[in-house]
Amino acid sequence: MTPDVGLASHGAEEAPRATAGRAPDVFSREGWVPMREHCRDEAVDFVIVGAGCGGSVLATKLAEAGHSVVLFDAGPFWRPLSDFASDEREQEKLYWLDERISGGDDPIEFGANNSGRGVGGSTTHFQMVSLRFRPEWFKSRSALGYAVDWPVDWKEMWHYYAEAERAMSISGPISYPWGPKRGRYPYRAHEVNEAGLVLARGAEALGVDWAPTPLATVSAPHGKSPPCVYRGMCKIGCSTNAKQSMLVTYIPRALAAGAEIRDLAMVGHIETGPDGRATGVEYHRDGGWHFQKARNVVVSAYSIETPRLLLNSACGRYPHGLANGNGQVGRHLMVHANHAVWAEFDREIRWYKGPPSMACCEHWNYDDDDPSRDFHGGYSFMSQGPLPSDFAGTLVGSTGAFGMDLRERMARYNRMAGLKIVGETMPQAENRVTLSDETDAFGLPRASVSFSYCDNDRRLYEHSQRFMTRMLEAAGGGNFLESASTAHLMGGCRMGHSPEDSVTDADGRSWEISNLWICDGSLMPTAGGVNPALTIVANAARIGDRMVRLAKRGEV
C-alpha cells in the first residue's frame, strides 16, 4: 500500500531495508533498485563504516573503480518521498540522539546541528550551504599564523571542490565575491528570499559584499530531482528530493556501481589479526552480531563515532585503541561557533520560506586587515529561517521566556530575521573524545566529549555578534536578541604531515595500521569558517581517487 505523502512511515527504522539483493529506490515511494551482495566470510576489498559525506563518496569512487565495497550505516535507509514528514518532532529521527557524555567548559549539544543517523548521514537534513574553504586555510600556520597546515595543497582541493559541486548540482551565483576565481556553478543561484534580502540590504548599507548562497538544492530539474519548491522544511529533511543529499546523489551511484549498503547495522569493533592489520568489522544487525571480513577498513563515522570506534576496538596489541599509539585519536575536536543575532522588523519577512540560508557574507573569512579584527581564523554568516519550534527553543534558551511572554514573542515570528555565524574554532588537544564507563544498548562504551572555547574563539564570536547587530540595524531591524550555540564537528582524527601529531597521512591511511583508513570530517586539521559538508565531500573524492591509484600500484 502506498503511504500518503507526508505520512510518517516507521518501516525503515524497524528492519533493515537493503537486503535480499535490493535496496530502496530513493526516488520512489516504495520502489527498489538492485543491489549486489557480498558474502560475510569472503573478504571484500573495502568495508566502510558510515554512509555520510565521507563514506558515500568514497564507496562510490571505489565501487566505480571496480572494488568490492560494503558500506555500513547504523541508521535507516530512507525514501524521502514517503518517509519524511513536514513535522519538526517527527523528523528528529534523522539525528544521532543516542546519549553521549558531554563536558568541558562549554559542553556541546549533540543532535540536529552536528549529527546524522541513516544512509546519507547528516546531509539528509543539512542546510545545504556549500562553501569552499579559503585557499590560505590549507596553510593556516604558514600563511596566516595560527593552528596547523593541512597536508593537502589548496589547488588539489579546488579541483575536488569543483567535482563535488558538479556531483551535487550546486546552485550558486554567477560571480562569487570572495576568493580566487572559480568555475561556474552547475545550476543558477535561487531567488533570494526576504530573510536573505535583509542580509543583502544590511551588507550594502555597511559596504561589505554579500552573495546568494551556493546551495545543494537544484534550481531547475536534475535527473529525478524536481526543482526546489521553497517549502522551507530543508532542515528537517527534504521530502521532494530537490535537496542534493548524499542519499540522492552518491548513494544511487554507489549502488549502481556494485557497492553493497547495510542499513541499521551498528559496527561495534574493528578486528585486527596477528600481524596487526585490520581483518574486518563486527557489527550488529537484525538482532545479532556478525562479522564481515575485509582487506581494508575505512572509518567514516564523523568526529565522535570515528574516534569512539577506534578506541572501542582496543585489543592486546593496541591497548589504547587502533591507530592511537601516539594518543592522537579523539583529540583536536572542533565545532563551529554558531552565534546569532535576531531582530524584529516592521514588515513581514516570513523567513521560513525557502532554504534557510539563502544569502551569505564571507567578509570576515577574507578580510585580514580590518582594525577591528582581534582574532585568528574567520567566520561566515548567513540569513536564517528557523522553523517555529526550533526558534521557540532559541527564545527559551537565550531569554528564558515562558508562558504568555513566549507566546507574544513567537507571535512576531513572521516579522523576524536573523544572522548566524559559522565561526572557526581553534584545534586544541584537550578538546577531545574519550570513552566513558557507561555503555549503550549494544553494550559499547559511550563517547565522552570534552569541549571548551579558547580566548580566540570567544573574541571571534563576540566580534561577530557586534558586527551582525550593526548589519541588522543597518537593514532596519530593532529589538535585538543574541543567541549562542554550536554547529558541525571537525577533527578528532586529524590527518597530518607526521605520525607524531596526527592520526593519518594525507590519504586518510592511519600511520599505525596500513589497511585502516579514515575518511570523514574527523580528518580536518582546522575547521575553517564555512559549513564543512562540501569540504568533506571534496576531501573524500580526493582520497577516493588516491586510494584507487594506490590500489593500482598494489599499495593498498
Binding site: A189, A200, S219, P221, P227
Partner: protein, 315 residues
Amino acid sequence: MTRRGREDRPAPAATRRGRTGLGMLVLGLGLGLAGAAAAGRLARSRKHADIHDASLRRTRDGAAILGASVLMDSAMEHFRGGYENRVMYLGPTMAAASVAASLSEPRLHPGGSAARVAHGACLVTGIVGTGFHLWNITRRPGGLSWNNLFYAAPIGAPGALSIAGLLGLATEAMAVRQEDRRTTGRALAALSGLSLLGESAEVALLHFRGAFHNPAMYLPITVPPLAGIVLVALAVRPHAGGQRVTRLLLRIVGGLGVLGTAFHVYGVSRNMGGWSNWRQNALAGPPTPAPISFTGLGLAGLAALDLLDNARDRA
C-alpha cells in the same frame, strides 16, 4: 529585548493577497475577446488572391499569436505576482486588445480606427511595461544583478507587446501603401528579424537561469537568432539572395514555437507533483504560453519574404 504590552504592539502588517478574482476576470475577458475575434476571423473569407493581401493577413496573424502569448503569459505571471500593483492589469488587458485588433481587417485609407489606436496603445504599454519591469529589477538589493534579472520582473517580456503593436501598425501602413512592396517588405523583414533577436535574448537569459538542463533548451537560442540575422541582412540588402534558406529557417522557427510549448508542458510535469499540482506548477515551471510567440514572429518573417519575392518578380 523588552517585553511589550498589548497596546504598543505594532499592528500586524497587512497581509498581501493577490486580487485573484479580478485577475481571473481580466484573463477571462481577454480570452473571450480573443475567442470572439478568432471566430470572426474564421467566418471571414480566407481567400487572398493578392500576395500583398496575403502577406498582410499573415503578419497580422503572427501579431495575433504574439499577442495571445503575451495575454496568457502576462495574465499568469501577474497573477503569480498577485496583481500587487494595479498597473499589472494593463499587460493582459492590452494584450487582449492586441489580439482583437490584429484579427480584424486593416483599413485601406489613412485615419484613425479602433484597431490602430489599439496597436499604438500596445506599443506604448510595452515600453511603459519595460520601464516598470526595470524598476522592479533595480529596486531590489543587488540592482541590475544576475539574480534580479533571473527572478525579478522579466526585462524582455513587455517588449513582446510592443512588437505585437508594431507589427499591427506595420500592417496598417501596408494596407494604405499598397504599391511600395519592396519598402514594406524590407521594413517588415527588419522588424521581424530584430524581434527574433530580442526574443532569443530573453530566452537565452531564462534558459541560462535554467542551466540549460535539457539540451533542447539550446534550440531557441540558435535557430531563431540565425533567422533573425538573415532577415535583417535581407532588409539591408534585399537583392543578396538566400531567400530559400531564410524561408526554411523561418519555418523551423515556427515549428519551434509548437515544439517549445510541448517541452514547456513537459517541463511543468518535472516539478514536484507534476500536472496534478497544476495550480502551483503551471506558475512555478517554465511558462507554457511563451514559446508560441516564435511561431507568430516566424509568420511575420515569412510575410516579409513573400513581399520581397513579389517585389522582385515585378521589378
